[in-house]
């Protein structure tokens, strides 16, 4: 795949991926499609370096794999970010921060879980202080499995997410909003009294959603 006639290396990869992206999103209205297209072309990532996956984020963002060509670029604060990347195992202590950061992001917002640890606990399946299934606590839009996944896999995951966005699939945030009580119950189960304050989400209940 890296030695075609009309392209070479990353160019091929990019062309293939972009071709895939272009096919999705046919069922939306014109404006929605436009918006979805803009959204998928520009993903600001809040890379939450929770575990060893953080190592893999660096090559992804820098010259070797250059995620910027897909419009994927780091964001400094959750306010500006579209995608929250949970890179690996998530300690309970960190979970509180993750939840708060997630709730502070502005919709539409997406979550990518890296590695097996976010799926089932991975090698930390019996650890006392990590969570096993990330999806119980915040809605995950895309898993990239592996331990750890290579940057190529990450790119695949991001592109898959972009395809979903372009296709107009609602973000996991809708799920979070719909099932807020369940999520909060799950969170409370592991965090106990040490929950993040409720003012970052309680307006969901108050009907503040347009």
């Amino acid at each position: 795949m890296y030695h075609n006639e009309h392209c070479e290396g990353f160019q091929c990869e990019q062309q293939q991926l972009e071709a895939a992206l272009a096919q999705s999103g046919n069922e939306l209205g014109a404006l929605d499609r436009l918006m979805a297209w803009f959204r998928q072309r520009s993903l600001f990532v809040l890379a939450y370096g929770t575990g060893c996956g953080a190592i893999e984020m660096r090559p992804l963002m820098t010259s070797r794999f250059d995620a910027e060509r897909f419009g994927i670029i780091g964001a400094a604060t959750p306010r500006q970010a579209d995608v929250l990347v949970i890179s690996g195992y998530l300690a309970i202590k960190t979970l509180k921060r993750v939840i708060r950061s997630y709730e502070q992001m502005q919709a539409p917002k997406y979550v990518i879980g890296l590695g097996s640890c976010t799926i089932n606990g991975g090698m930390y399946w019996d650890s006392y202080n990590t969570i096993k299934q990330l999806d119980h606590y915040i809605p995950v839009d895309m898993y990239v499995n592996g331990c750890m996944p290579r940057p190529e896999a990450l790119i695949e995951g991001f592109v898959a997410l972009q395809q979903r966005i372009a296709a107009g699939t609602p973000s996991g945030f809708e799920r979070y909003r719909a099932n807020i009580d369940w999520y909060k119950a799950n969170q409370r189960r592991v965090l106990g009294d040490n929950m993040p304050p409720d003012y970052t989400y309680d307006w969901y209940h108050a009907g503040g959603v347009a």
Partner: protein
């Protein structure tokens, strides 16, 4: 009774206005043989009288809120009388009388604040008296040469005489305006004075120093050329004056940035703003003088506004340090706009009139080709953004840092009325800078025998270097602002207000009431790391003056040991002196 006193006081505060509008013809009062006081309203003094006429009632109105205080009212009456005498005086004796009445009555008013400490009070009165005595020395010197106390152009003086006069008068007035390094009294007194009186001190009384400086061009009508040689296409004296002004402005600005108290910050900012005026006076061209007058006008309005507003904040919260305030924007919205308009005027941003003043002064400097001064002035005025921002951020934005700040309510109406009037004046002046030039400033310039600046229309500020249109700037800005706001609100999308002030992007952490979220006090601290600013902020004149005081006291103590308590010692000294003198005189054979 109470009400009548208050009404009387209010009426009293309108006396400058009454003088301004009804004064006609000169009045003379023969004090002694050879000393006749004459009083008249010249265009220059009329300008400053106008400032007084605007300022006095606006400060009187919020004062009415307090319990009626006859002695304070009486002192204010004396103060106003002194200032009017000063402005009306056609000779230096009258000027000095007004000047001194102003000095001591303001000192007594200063003492009425419980915060006034010994250093503050002493430095206020001593610096002002030094200023007054220098003025007295200057006028006596002038008298010894010309046999005349009248304020009029002096000619036929030797260059050295002119220089002495210039130095004496210049120093006297520079102390009054608080130029560095003679500014020690300013921050102390502005800080410690009763809150509303600070407004009076800063907005009106410092203008009297400016008025004094404005007399200098009157005394030396051919510029400062004859006093000293020429340098860089200008007189040396003017050049020195301009540098004094700009160094004052720059250093005071940095000092202001490092203050942690609202009133001290404003005090230093007053020093800085007046420094610009001094610079412009040093330039001495009609554009620069016009700029100085404009700046005086704007600074009066702005400092009235800011000090009254801040007095309101202090009244409502009881706090004056940035670290104790915060988030008052929702509780004191009108005060917020007061400070906002105030700092925009202070920073000299378009479209408010502070910009017009700065514009004139810049153009004056460019026209004189004094570009290094220009650079320094730009430095000062850019640095002033920092303290302006601190001034609005500290009390109004950020987080409430004390229980009082959390529960404060809007200032009482007595404080709000002057604020609203002043805001209106500032905005109107900003839109119509040409009006101020045409109506207020050009007559003064003509009175000083200078070319008027002139203006094609009231909304245009025009100079030989081009001008700008106040209405256009304001219009475009306002239109775009309204359009974009409407457009923004029309576009789809949900906007919601954070449910808690602690809903902050804080690295995932959860800030609480104990988290030091208010950045007000520390703001500008990092400026110390810039070598120049750090150097400036590390050095003060306090040590010098404290040392001077200490040395004087030590000398006094040393001499004081002569005054023992044993009569025999006294007599022994007398006899010894007798014997020694007799011997010396006999030996030398007088």
């Amino acid at each position: 009774m109470n009400l009548i006193t208050k009404l009387l006081f209010l009426g009293l505060s309108f006396t400058p206005a009454a003088t301004f509008f009804t004064w006609d013809g000169a009045v003379a009062w023969s004090l002694l043989n050879g000393i006749t006081l004459s009083f008249d309203l010249t265009p220059l003094s009329a300008f400053f009288m106008l400032l007084l006429a605007i300022g006095a009632p606006l400060i009187a109105v919020p004062m009415l809120r307090e319990k009626s205080d006859e002695s304070a009212y009486a002192l204010y009456a004396l103060l106003l009388l002194g200032m009017q005498l000063l402005l009306l005086a056609g000779d230096f004796i009258g000027f000095f009388i007004g000047w001194e009445m102003m000095t001591w009555s303001s000192y007594l008013l200063l003492l009425r604040s419980p915060r006034t400490d010994l250093e503050g009070a002493q430095s206020y009165i001593l610096f002002n008296l030094v200023s007054a005595f220098l003025l007295l020395a200057g006028m006596l010197f002038l008298y010894s040469i010309t046999d005349d106390f009248r304020i009029q152009a002096v000619d036929g003086l030797l260059t050295a005489d002119k220089l002495v006069l210039f130095v004496l008068f210049g120093l006297a007035f520079l102390i009054k305006v608080g130029a560095l390094p003679l500014h020690l009294w300013v921050p102390r007194s502005y800080d410690q004075a009763p809150d509303l009186f600070s407004a009076f001190l800063s907005a009106l009384m410092s203008k009297m120093g400016i008025y004094g400086l404005m007399i200098l061009p009157l005394l030396f009508p051919d510029g400062f050329n004859e006093i000293s040689g020429q340098i860089f296409n200008g007189p040396v004296a003017g050049y020195v004056l301009a540098w004094i002004g700009i160094i004052t402005a720059t250093i005071a600005t940095f000092k202001a940035i490092s203050q942690e108290d609202m009133k001290r910050l404003l005090a230093y900012s007053s020093i800085a703003q007046v420094g610009y005026i001094v610079t412009a006076l040093g330039v001495g061209s009609s554009l620069a003088i016009g700029g100085a007058l404009f700046q005086a006008l704007v600074h009066t309005l702005v400092k009235l506004l800011l000090f009254i507003t801040i007095a309101g904040i202090i009244l409502q919260t009881g706090h004056r340090r940035f670290i104790d305030l915060g988030q008052l924007i929702s509780r004191m919205p009108i005060s917020f706009f007061g400070v906002l308009i105030g700092i925009i005027g202070l920073a000299g941003m378009p479209p408010l009139p502070g910009f017009a003043a700065k514009y004139l002064m810049y153009v004056g400097l460019i026209e004189a080709h004094w570009l290094l001064l220009l650079a320094a002035m730009i430095l000062a005025s850019t640095a002033s953004f920092v303290y302006c921002y601190k001034l609005i951020y500290g009390p109004f934005l950020g987080h409430a840092n004390s229980p009082e700040a959390k529960t404060a309510t809007e200032a009482p109406w007595q404080y709000l009325i002057p604020q609203i009037i002043l805001m209106g004046m500032l905005v109107a002046l900003g839109i119509f800078p040409g009006w101020a030039i045409d109506v207020l400033i050009d007559p003064v310039l003509i009175g000083l025998n200078m070319t008027p600046i002139g203006t094609p229309a009231w909304n245009v500020l025009a100079t030989s270097y081009g001008g700008y249109d106040g209405v256009a700037v304001m219009g475009v800005f306002a239109t775009v602002f309204v359009l974009i706001t409407v457009l923004f609100l029309l576009v789809r999308g949900n906007m919601h207000r954070a449910a808690s002030p602690y809903d902050l992007s804080f690295c995932g952490e959860v800030p609480t009431a104990d988290t030091p979220l208010h950045y007000g006090a520390g703001m500008g601290r990092e400026l110390r790391r810039v070598p120049l600013i750090g150097w400036i902020l590390r050095h003060t004149t306090t040590g010098f003056y404290a040392g001077l005081t200490r040395q004087t006291q030590a000398a006094a103590g040393m001499i004081g040991t002569l005054y023992g308590s044993n009569p025999q010692t006294w007599l022994l000294l007398a006899v010894l002196i007798f014997a020694v003198t007799l011997t010396i005189q006999s030996v030398t054979g007088a």
